[in-house]
């Protein structure tokens, strides 16, 4: 009898526990999008990864891109610096693309491209962030993030695992979408799926996180694990083109120096960027 009561009690307790998880107060939409933004683009102080892209068009023609990307945060959720060293295909090999990302609404990013065969440091106009990144179906904004201030955010659905946030641009004339919905993992706050809709409410573009892996890193002396998207896919439903992006050799908090993101290293990349 006593055992039964204890068992019953513990069942009740666990039920209460799970009920509490479901009824946990839902954070504000601002908190959700802020956390998701940091998960997707700002984990650690800095990071390094090798990226492979496979672009498949509607006729099954395949193109590949391979590069090493270094990232450093100026401030969590704020400005960032990116350094991209191309490995493939042969005609862009050893080119370097560098970005100083600015989140302030009135300031465009600064972008440079270095062409080694001409020893030329080119400055690139960067007013349009919704253009293809290296000919793939990913856009510049997908790679380096879209400023949260550019959209209004509304929590439109909450499931057992996901928050679904609808994002409507404040300046619709500057973008090709009418709105996009992001499904965010409730536990990790990782954006798992992004769906872009046009003016006729028609879905035309989907980005999905296909694989999330815990990556070990150090925060000072402390061992931590950062959940990291290591495989993501974007489908352009209008053109029938798909790009798969795979991240390997992911590292965080490796102490990337600030001056890596200057002309010196643009002209001659640091060793950690090349291999």
């Amino acid at each position: 009898m006593k055992t039964t009561i204890i068992t019953l009690f513990s069942i009740l307790l666990s039920l209460a526990g799970s009920a509490r998880a479901a009824e946990e107060p839902i954070p504000s939409v601002d908190e959700i999008v802020n956390k998701a933004n940091i998960m997707a683009y700002y984990q650690g102080q800095d990071g390094k990864s090798k990226v492979s892209m496979k672009i498949t068009d509607k006729n099954d023609n395949v193109r590949t891109r391979e590069f090493i990307i270094l990232r450093k945060n100026e401030e969590k959720g704020g400005d960032q610096k990116y350094f991209v060293y191309f490995l493939q295909p042969p005609d862009v090999r050893k080119m370097v693309f560098m970005v100083h990302k600015h989140v302030a609404a009135d300031r465009d990013d600064d972008r440079w491209l270095y062409l080694p065969s001409l020893d030329l440091v080119n400055r690139i106009a960067a007013s349009d962030k919704r253009t293809s990144f290296v000919g793939s179906d990913f856009l510049y904004e997908d790679v380096s993030g879209r400023s949260l201030d550019e959209d209004t955010h509304e929590l439109i659905d909450t499931t057992e695992d996901l928050f679904v946030v609808k994002n409507v641009p404040k300046k619709p004339e500057t973008v090709e979408f009418a709105y996009f919905n992001v499904a965010i993992d409730r536990k990790t706050y990782m954006p798992m799926k992004m769906e872009y809709f046009d003016k006729d409410n028609k879905l035309y573009r989907v980005i999905e996180s296909k694989k999330v892996e815990p990556i070990k890193a150090k925060e000072g002396e402390q061992e931590v694990e950062y959940p990291t998207v290591t495989e993501s896919v974007v489908k352009d439903l209008r053109t029938g083109s798909t790009t798969e992006m795979t991240f390997s050799k992911v590292q965080y908090n490796i102490g990337i120096k600030d001056d890596i993101f200057t002309e010196r290293y643009l002209r001659r990349p640091p060793r950690e960027a090349m291999r």
């Binding site: 493939q88 020893d119 030329l120």
Partner: protein, 433 residues
């Protein structure tokens, strides 16, 4: 610097390439044995990275040129690039072999062979044959006095070939205050100027257009460590506005005078200049200035040597649509001591030469198709040079291109007008690996 190659030499070069390929293979094969015998010389190096391309390029003049062949370019080219590194340095070799049907000869050229070291936190050093570029102009150069290959540019070789290599040492020093680049070239590296070999030109001595019948003969300064060049750039980035000041001491890079023997010469030249580049509105703006001090004729009295000049440039570019960029530049060359110059018999230049450039670049088909246009137009010389170009990347390795070099001019002796019989159309296929 481009070696002509006869059959025997060609074979030798092929063998050199074979040896270069074989070395790492042999090294790998020997590895087993070497492990027992102790570390080999090759063990210190990282894996050898081998890349390059094979290309066929052909082009024709679109009109008859009395002094040149109809064929403007006709060549097959193999470029090999080898790079490796050890604990303290990076190494690179890049060389081209090509058969040139327009000249009916084979050529070999080392484009790059250098070693790069980063000896301290505040210093980079690159020694050897290398391509060098600085300054802000787009296909207009004021403070970039590194050698250009105008011949390749005009006949429609890849843009990479506009830059000729320098045999030089580049030392770069970095500090919070500013950064300094010093480039020392122990033996003068001139431009690859128009000689009449590929491109017909205005020959002032003959008073007419000339080409293969009157190739330019030069008396070029070539003494090591005496006929040397030094170029400096002091630069700083302030809030992503890039400021630079420049200095150069050497020679006019293309012939700029005539000696008593009637040979074209490269008189002494110093250049002092400055530039700035940064975000302006929705795009990128740049401005550059340079004072060309013709040291052998500062007073402008010698009619056989170029006068000093001031050169000015402003430019702006921005996105004007999806994957569509436009850039404009305004450039002025001011001839100094113009009154003296004007006294010379046969003086034809205006005091000011104005040039406007326009660049349009549009990417299509997932950025695999590039349509581009670059045009120079001079309202003062009444001439123009247009460069339309189309490139299609059929795969990650294979690219097809077609382009044209179009020259207009009201007069036969202006900067671009003199080349009007060289207007050409070319096409190329390149396989990169």
């Amino acid at each position: 610097m481009i070696g002509k190659v006869r059959f025997g030499e060609g074979l030798l070069i092929c063998m050199c390439f074979a040896v270069l390929f074989a070395v790492p293979v042999l090294a790998a094969e020997q590895e087993e044995g070497v492990k027992k015998a102790g570390p080999s010389f090759w063990d210190q190096f990282g894996p050898l990275d081998i890349h390059g391309f094979y290309e066929v390029r052909g082009g024709y003049r679109l009109q008859n040129d009395r002094y040149e062949k109809d064929m403007s370019v006709m060549e097959t080219r193999l470029q090999l690039e080898l790079s490796t590194y050890n604990d303290w340095a990076d190494f690179k070799y890049k060389g081209d072999v090509y058969g040139d049907l327009a000249q009916e000869e084979g050529f070999y050229e080392t484009r790059e062979t250098w070693m790069f070291i980063r000896p301290t936190d505040y210093m980079d050093v690159k020694i050897g044959r290398q391509i060098l570029t600085w300054g802000t102009g787009d296909l207009l150069f004021i403070n970039d006095l590194f050698p250009k290959d105008w011949q390749s540019f005009f006949i429609g070789r890849d843009a990479e070939y506009l830059k000729a290599p320098s045999d030089a040492a580049k030392v770069s020093l970095f500090s919070d205050l500013a950064n300094l680049d010093i480039v020392y070239t122990p033996q003068f590296d001139s431009d690859r100027y128009i000689t009449g070999e590929y491109i017909s030109y205005w020959n002032a001595a003959l008073g007419r257009t000339a080409g293969q019948d009157a190739k330019v003969h030069t008396d070029k300064p070539d003494q090591w460590f005496h006929d040397d060049e030094i170029a400096l750039r002091l630069y700083k980035n302030i809030n992503n506005n890039e400021f630079a000041i420049y200095g150069y001491r050497g020679f006019w890079k293309s012939p700029a005078g005539m000696n008593a023997a009637g040979k074209a010469i490269f008189p002494d030249l110093s250049v002092y200049g400055a530039s700035v580049r940064g975000n302006v509105g929705k795009g990128i703006g740049h401005a550059e200035i340079g004072y060309y001090q013709s040291r052998d004729d500062e007073g402008g009295k010698n009619p056989m040597i170029n006068n000093s000049e001031m050169r000015y440039l402003v430019g702006y570019k921005q996105d004007i649509g999806t994957d569509f960029t436009a850039g404009v530049q305004y450039y002025v060359e001011q001839l100094l001591q113009y009154d003296q110059y004007k006294k010379n018999p046969g003086s034809v230049r205006d005091e000011y030469r104005h040039v406007v450039t326009l660049r349009l670049t549009k990417l299509l088909m997932n950025q695999n198709l590039t349509l581009s246009f670059f045009g120079y137009y001079s309202p003062s010389d009444k001439d123009a040079y247009l460069r339309p170009h189309v490139q299609y990347k059929a795969s990650d390795n294979l690219a097809l291109e077609m382009g044209s070099n179009i020259f207009f001019g009201d007069y036969p002796n202006t900067f671009f007008g003199q080349f009007r019989d060289n207007t050409n159309l070319y096409t190329a296929v390149r396989y990169s690996f």
